[in-house]
Assembly symmetry: C2
Homo-oligomer: 429 residues x 2
């Protein structure tokens, strides 16, 4: 399409933000009602609170609890225009982007397109495994799991076919992998036996497979060890130093020589940046991320910025880029807003302030690394709960989401185990 986006002209400079993840919305919030015309583009009509996607997949929360429509989020911003669209190409020489609904000129462009699942070229895994980077994908996982149990009840006890429908493999020992494994183990231990008295859940195996030598590689050694211990207490089989070799939708083969029969392989092992066409090789670094300088400008440009997962920023004195996590994205958003508002070229560099990190494995089982304090277990779990609830209640109708979530998480609410849209396996290509 070569038509133009239907955006009113403005005397203020136009900042186009591509992507409404943590970075994009933080930037937009900080520019609220400032003398810029903000155009926010996203392929979804809502911002998703990604750290809790695993709760959608494991039927702990309903979508609306972790999603907030952009039009509601920004209804008091008089300088922001939202459009649901994907950017297909950037044309820097014309200060224009090409999108699925037309072209648009920009004064400043901010690429905040985030990351997607990286299958490292394994086509069979890409076709048959379930990624978990969006709400529709998380809902697909939920539907698939429940459909599998419903099928399994009618099959011969402990047959290969029945076991393959019940056993679950999670590939990737990062936060998403360990939180999903923990939540599934708790479902198996406390909820599923009541739902499916026909099935002997002692035979349900949950495997967490990690290529590296430890779980949560981004956290401390204490956090890693304790996470493995917590998962094993819950009955998860943790395989370290193990890579997935192939998966045909039924048989998963690993480089330790072992094979698992499963129809449910959740893939959370790799991510890569999502970069629109139009950038040259110099701008794109490892993991398909845009290399940014100390002002978050994409290499080679003065009015194109990048923040969040897609931005590869190497802090002074470090060897590797900052991790692809929400706090980095949000701090980048805040910095960029201040930098643009300042209107100055001479401006302090971006410096990431690491506030620590945390992950939860299950009820009363979490790990927290702060700068001067590390803790694991019940206290860590309360810290995790507090931080996530506080972040989440920024979303819409605060009190209700708070109560609903507390009830859903603490109680044994059964309302979410609905196959509201059946999952269908993609047909072979």
């Amino acid at each position: 399409m070569n038509s133009h986006l239907n955006i009113p002209t403005s005397t203020n400079p136009r900042i186009v933000i591509v992507g409404g993840g943590f970075g994009g919305i933080e930037l937009a919030q900080q520019l609220k009602n400032k003398p810029f015309q903000i155009v926010l583009l996203d392929k979804h009509n809502y911002h998703a609170f990604q750290p809790l996607l695993y709760q959608i997949a494991t039927a702990g929360l309903e979508s609306y609890s972790i999603a907030s429509p952009y039009r509601a989020l920004f209804d008091r911003h008089n300088n922001l225009i939202f459009r649901m669209a994907e950017v297909t190409e950037v044309l820097p020489s014309e200060q224009t982007i090409r999108t699925t609904i037309g072209d648009l000129k920009y004064d400043y462009l901010v690429i905040a397109t985030g990351s997607t699942t990286n299958f490292f070229g394994m086509q069979d895994v890409k076709q048959h495994a379930m990624p978990m980077k969006s709400i529709p994908q998380a809902l697909d996982i939920r539907s698939m799991l429940i459909q599998n149990f419903e099928k399994a009840v009618n099959l011969e006890h402990k047959s290969d076919e029945q076991e393959s429908l019940i056993d679950i493999v999670i590939v990737g020992g990062g936060p998403t992998g360990i939180e999903t494994a923990g939540a599934l183990a708790e479902l198996r231990n406390h909820v599923l036996p009541t739902d499916y008295p026909e099935i002997d859940f002692k035979m349900m195996d949950i495997y967490l497979v990690e290529l590296g030598p430890r779980l949560l590689a981004g956290m401390s050694q204490e956090a890693s060890s304790k996470t493995k211990e917590f998962l094993e207490e819950l009955g998860v089989q943790v395989w370290l130093n193990t890579g997935l070799v192939s998966y045909d939708g039924y048989k998963a083969v690993f480089n330790n020589g072992k094979t698992i029969l499963t129809t449910s392989l959740i893939y959370a092992a790799g991510v890569a940046g999502v970069v629109p066409a139009g950038f040259n090789k110099e701008a794109i670094g490892r993991g398909n991320r845009l290399s940014v300088d100390s002002k978050l400008r994409v290499k080679g440009f003065t009015n194109i910025f990048s923040i969040g997962d897609v931005a590869s920023f190497i802090q002074e004195g470090k060897q590797v880029p900052l991790p692809m996590v929400a706090p980095v994205a949000m701090q980048m958003g805040t910095y960029l807003a201040n930098y643009i508002k300042s209107g100055k070229d001479q401006y302090p560099d971006f410096v990431y302030k690491d506030e620590g990190s945390m992950a939860t494995i299950g009820k009363h089982k979490a790990v927290v690394d702060l700068k001067y304090w590390k803790t694991q277990g019940t206290i860590a779990w309360f810290i995790w709960m507090f931080v996530h609830l506080m972040s989440l209640v920024g979303f819409g109708s605060k009190v209700f989401v708070f109560l609903r979530w507390t009830q859903a998480y603490l109680g044994s609410d059964k309302k979410h185990r609905l196959i509201i849209r059946p999952y269908r396996k993609p047909s072979a290509e």
Copy 2:
């Protein structure tokens, strides 16, 4: 598949209930822990509170508020086995049903398969219109409407293309049609202008088209007239005595010579019974429903019953069958449970006790027909709210659903306007 369903043998007679709508679950509830083996089959894993489907379609409620997983609903029944399956054929000579997951013998069979949308042979309408008989269909309507608004904002003001994305036609002036029209009118009047300041909602037309001479043909003349008046107050254009002739996904043609350009045509004009294969012509009556006698036995059988929408029961002294509504289904379920429990052939006939009917058009706008009292307006609306809330809070976590629903219905909650799974128009066949 010719394998058998994996159901344990029992010394008690086996009652197979096909379909977990209002009739099926009422029957199962009344037989709780009685000396029968109940096998409940349904193609979904949850019971849906159908009268509120329009709230899902118009983004007023989330699915879990009106759906209840069978396994949670019946977790205290020690004589009930649920299986997610569709019945493909009944083999009465072998007392067996054939299902998508295997065959099953029965002692008593209860067909409670409900009804589906009847397009009266109009293939183009079937392909392009949106029916609303299930939660996935209602979610599709919601996604389609929001996607259309998101598209419309980028189009030329008042162009044909923009108007076709915004105007909505609802075909069918029964309860579903009028409740949907009312809810959409309220969205247009109060909610959408804030979400989409780019669109002039004065140009958004909502049409309600009914083939007969009045709306809500099953209710009193007063209710019909007042409903039309309420809808017109809300700005809905009501066309009576008008039939849909054709619809190609863009242009809807009516037998009054008029044409409306719309990409959103919601079809709620006709229903037909869903009857599994295996019944002969004598058993199947008008509207593809199973003719049942005064004991709810399907014509020609002594151990096959039918209840709910799919059952065509003509009360003593009446000309037409009972209407396809929830109270009929529930009373049939209760009667059948008592009849089967009695074990007697000599048993009083089924008699439907009409408790009245009601429908809501919008806030403070409802119509109620009771036996000795008819009322329309605010009092009717409070009665409608009370009755529906009381029915609904039977579902799962009562207090939360009650609060959530009250808030969602009374407030201006914006949380549900999420395109969590994009709707894709079916491709031409």
